[in-house]
Amino acid sequence: MRDIIEGPPEPETPPRPLHRRLAWFVVLALGGMAATGAVAYALRALLGLE
């Protein structure tokens, strides 16, 4: 857990370009949504529902 959760950038680190930050924002948001959907559908399959 310690290595997975990301802390804030170091104060002296220059910020990444805005388009890269926005791209990561979208990718991580969609990834979170997909992961939740996968859990829901896995449970649905486990319960034998169509």
């Binding site: 959760i5 990301e6 802390g7 804030p8 930050r21 990561w24 948001a29 859990v39 829901a40 529902l49």
Partner: protein, 469 residues
């Protein structure tokens, strides 16, 4: 009592929801707490707030995960065990659950990924926006779930009958049913109290070991502030919710207060032993006349007793009466703890007051107990109806056999015992470790190949210079 499909389905739903409600009642408050911590870090750049954030976000992620798994099971049960309820009320209540999933649940799930894995990748501004969106998502989730439950308590804005099915004729009245605002306030405040008590307990536990731990001292003070303000407000919200119960569910109020006779000058029962067979209390410890004043605003107000309802329309009295007293008793203890904590802050002795710190640790789980007690009051008090005054619980169950429900109930008991025990133990272990400054910072890099057997050993400084010999 015969353990048929109805009773077993009720036991299964009660068991699974009692487990599930633990997690959202904690994560609703914790998400807001995380947003406050990150906001304060952005404003002040005080490292204490960052360390606290990085500690509590781990607990949040685990609790959120367990809340998702236990919550998905809840909605499936509406189809497997309560299909008649779903068929009759689905056109009205189904969209409320759908909005919960679409508008709230996916909001939380989407931006949780950014919260956990993206601080460096998206930068501080977008990360803070994600944290706020997750906190907003948890509150929106509470909005829709309490809206659906409030409609079951005081249904409005619908037409039709149980036989032909119910349809919504006024969505605003469905969403904002008469008891909804007070019940939403009561639930959200309960969630904030639950979180404050857990944060206070974990922080106090650390301070009992090391009173100089800055992060735990800060977290404890923040929790005390929340308790001191929110616990008294919760008393007011609960009172307003109780007035709603009197107006819309008088049989539930009579069960809560163990009033058997309709009359003015009802007593307030501090403790009693209600008995449905006896249609009275075996014994009672009461204050005369105060019951009418508390529930109706005047000792001359006539309050309906259970004698105003046919025996088959009365909720179970004993469990509702005592669950209510447990909830209120714990609520009063929370108010006392908040004021005690405020006193220690004023005296400047919070982190060193051993008695107060031990009281905080002892009170840690009481938020969960109070939430489950309140849920029992709300749900058991609504019996024998699943939709109050419209659909009886016995008419809402699926046409399934007791054997099938027994098997699923047994499976739930076993799986939950394993999964949630492991999860809860892991969270408790995390809490015991406490927030550690610099825990997330990368270790200093060493210019050595990975997997080298002596990779962790200090680097050889080389042969000493001639001057050192």
């Amino acid at each position: 009592m015969e353990f048929d499909a109805l009773v077993l389905s009720r036991i299964q739903f009660a068991f699974t929801i009692a487990f599930h409600i633990i997690f959202p009642s904690f994560t609703i408050g914790l998400a807001s707490y995380l947003a406050v911590l990150e906001g304060l870090w952005l404003l002040t750049r005080n490292e204490t707030f960052k360390t606290l954030y990085l500690f509590w976000v781990k607990v949040f992620a685990l609790s959120f995960g367990m809340g998702v798994v236990s919550g998905v099971v809840m909605s499936y049960q509406l189809g497997t065990n309560w299909s008649v309820f779903s068929a009759v009320a689905g056109p009205v209540i189904g969209p409320l659950f759908a909005f919960e999933v679409l508008a709230a649940f996916f909001l939380e799930a989407s931006f949780l990924g950014v919260m956990l894995f993206g601080w460096k990748k998206v930068g501080p501004g977008l990360h803070f926006a994600s944290t706020v969106l997750v906190a907003f998502g948890t509150l929106t989730s509470a909005f829709w779930i309490i809206s659906a439950n409030s409609w079951m308590q005081s249904p409005s804005g619908f037409a039709g009958t149980v036989e032909e099915g119910l349809v919504a004729v006024n969505w605003l009245q469905v969403i904002f049913s008469p008891t909804f605002p007070e019940r939403l306030a009561h639930m959200v405040l309960a969630a904030y109290l639950t979180t404050a008590l857990v944060v206070a307990a974990a922080s106090a536990f650390r301070l009992l070991k090391d009173a100089s731990e800055t992060e735990s001292a800060m977290a404890l003070k923040m929790s005390i502030g929340m308790l001191a303000i929110v616990a008294p407000l919760q008393l007011l919200a609960g009172d307003l919710s109780g007035k709603d119960v009197r107006e819309h569910q008088p049989a539930k109020l009579a069960a809560i207060e163990a009033f058997w006779e309709t009359r003015t000058e009802q007593p307030f029962h501090i403790a009693a032993w209600p008995d449905r067979e006896l249609e009275g209390n075996h014994w009672e410890l009461s204050i005369p006349k105060i019951g009418s004043w508390i529930t109706g605003g005047s000792v001359e107000t006539e309050i309906q007793g259970l004698d105003a309802f046919a025996p088959e329309d009365r909720p179970p009295v004993f469990i509702v009466f005592w669950a209510f007293r447990l909830m209120v008793g714990l609520g009063l203890a929370m108010i006392a703890l908040g004021f005690w904590g405020a006193w220690t802050i004023w005296r400047g002795s919070t982190a060193r007051n051993q008695a107060f710190l031990r009281a905080c640790v002892a009170m840690g789980p009481t938020g969960f107990v109070a939430v489950i007690s309140g849920w029992i009051v709300a749900e058991v008090g609504r019996q024998p109806y699943v939709i109050y005054g419209v659909l009886r619980t016995e008419d809402a169950v699926s046409p399934i056999g007791a054997g099938a429900v027994s098997a699923s109930l047994l499976a739930f008991l076993v799986v939950y015992a394993i999964v949630f025990s492991v999860g809860a133990l892991y969270i408790l272990r995390l809490l015991a470790e406490g927030p550690v400054a610099g825990a997330h910072e990368a270790p200093p890099s060493q210019d050595r190949p990975p997997g080298w057997a002596l990779g962790a050993a200090p680097e050889d400084p080389g042969p000493p210079d001639k001057e050192d010999r």
